[in-house]
């Protein structure tokens, strides 16, 4: 949010459609899980996103990179419509999940299918167990002993089980920041989401905790489609199959991660990843 010049003056020269280097676009055999078509977003009269068209492929990790205030988090927050909780906002365009119109879906059902992990760990002031069980109970997915099973399974998937199995009924606030973030991932996994959105999940964590979460993402992509917003380019290069570069509310370029980092098509992308601005 630090720089908000008139978008047109800076990127007026580049194409509306995102660039891709010829022939290296994401493999054709892959299936599209979630996609947006000409998605725009307004905060009041301020337009934060301009005609974003982007596809997320099933069981792939897609990273969204770009400087602060470029709209990557805003974009992520439209995908599960958590953006609607802020007043005076408007989504235009289309979002499609497995061929269904996301904007027409029942929002609680959508959010069960599209989970989200936030920038700062936000465990509820409840026990570890109740945190993980929350989504299961709210959605009426399980009862009694099967809640226990779901909790254990989710904590195992989030690689947290061994660290917390003896203190499931202690407050989640007693955990370290990295553990809290994995707890939030476990909490999101407990409702068995098809897509997992992560909004700079490691920005409040140290490198060891970050490495644990990145390892986790690799194991999770077997069952999930993952979208991760990050301002850490090394992280995008490490974990993502595909990467999209955002600048001033526009999608500048979307391609395989390797292409974005080694041979970007747009000058803005190159300038950003070589550290000339951002």
């Amino acid at each position: 949010m630090s720089i908000t010049p008139e978008p047109e003056t800076i990127v007026g020269s580049i194409n509306q459609e995102p660039l891709t280097s010829s022939g290296s676009a994401p493999k054709q055999a892959e299936t599209v899980k979630l996609s947006t078509d000409r998605l725009s977003f307004h905060y009041g009269s301020y337009q934060a996103l301009h005609d974003i068209s982007l596809s997320f492929y099933a069981n792939r990790i897609t990273a969204l990179i770009g400087p602060s205030g470029c709209g990557k988090s805003t974009f992520l927050r439209t995908l599960n419509r958590i953006s609607e909780t802020i007043r005076h906002t408007r989504i235009d365009g289309q979002i499609t999940l497995d061929g269904e119109d996301v904007l027409a879906l029942d929002v609680t059902n959508l959010r069960r299918r599209v989970g989200m992990v936030f920038q700062r760990p936000n465990p509820f002031p409840k026990s570890i167990f109740d945190n993980v069980a929350y989504g299961v109970r709210v959605n009426g997915l399980a009862r009694g002993t099967s809640v226990r099973e779901v909790v254990e399974k989710s904590l195992r998937r989030a690689a947290l089980w061994d660290e917390v199995k003896d203190k499931l009924h202690e407050s989640a606030h007693a955990l370290s920041g990295g553990q809290q973030q994995r707890l939030c991932i476990a909490r999101a996994l407990a409702v068995d989401p098809e897509v997992l959105l992560l909004d700079e999940p490691c920005s409040a964590l140290d490198p060891i905790a970050t490495a644990k979460i990145e390892d986790l993402l690799f194991t999770l992509k077997d069952d999930c489609t993952i979208v991760i917003v990050t301002h850490n380019m090394q992280q995008a290069a490490r974990v993502a199959d595909n990467t999209g570069f955002f600048l001033l509310g526009k999608l500048i370029e979307f391609d395989q991660t390797e292409v974005i980092f080694k041979n970007p098509a747009a000058k803005e992308t190159e300038d950003y990843i070589t550290g000339r601005f951002g």
Binding site: I82, R111, F124, P125, G135, N139
Partner: protein
Amino acid sequence: MLQRRRKIVNVVMLSLTGVCTVFIVSVLFIILGYLFWNGARYLTINFFTKLPAPVGEEGGGMANAIVGSGKLLLLATLIGVPFGFLGGVYLAEYGTGIFPSMVRYMTDLLNGVPSIVIGIFAYGVLVAPRHHFSTLAGGMALGVMMVPIALRTTEEFLRGVPQSLREGAMALGASKARTIATVVIPAAIRGILSGMMLDLARVAGETAPLLFTSLGNRFWSPGWDKPTAALPEMIYHYAISPYDDWHRQAWAAGFVLLALVLLVNIVARLVLARTSHAAG
């Protein structure tokens, strides 16, 4: 030179704030000590178990006033807490636009209404039309007095719950109402509870509204529809009487009332302290 001046100004201001603080705190301690000296000395077991004795007869108590105060505060809680709590939830979570700011303004006005006026209001609604004073009317007056603070504390503590918790719950598929009931309110409940307790302690010492509503009674007051004694009202009547032993009883009642209010305050602060500990 400038350095010297700064130091002098600093010393003067620091002493000034220190003196003011000591003065304010010592007023509280003088009141406490005075009440203890004059009140606690005459406190006997009879005070808690016996009815008031006729003038000149030794050994009476204020059991009826203690029970009466308890009943009045119970009624006040039953009125003040639900209205204040639910109103606060509405203002913090659902209120947008002109209506909520009107409600907020009205609430602050109601908070500023002198308690004796609220007493007259309860008199007009529940005493005059029914031609008799009652516990019910007194409880209602105190309950109305509780509403503004109960409402604003609930609102403040709910607003203090971070937005990230609400988003966390809604991102898991919880509806807004469900989020408020299962995440937001539990996160704020200790603060709200302690606010309610302080609110209750505040109205426990109210005398003026009771003079028009529950009136006072030298005997037990069965049920809810008869005049009843209450501690503050007994203090008032005993203190303005010309009898020495009644004065002593008034001091004792004052001490008991203060002790109860202090107790509630301390419990409330303990509850609140545990909240901040859990959040940290």
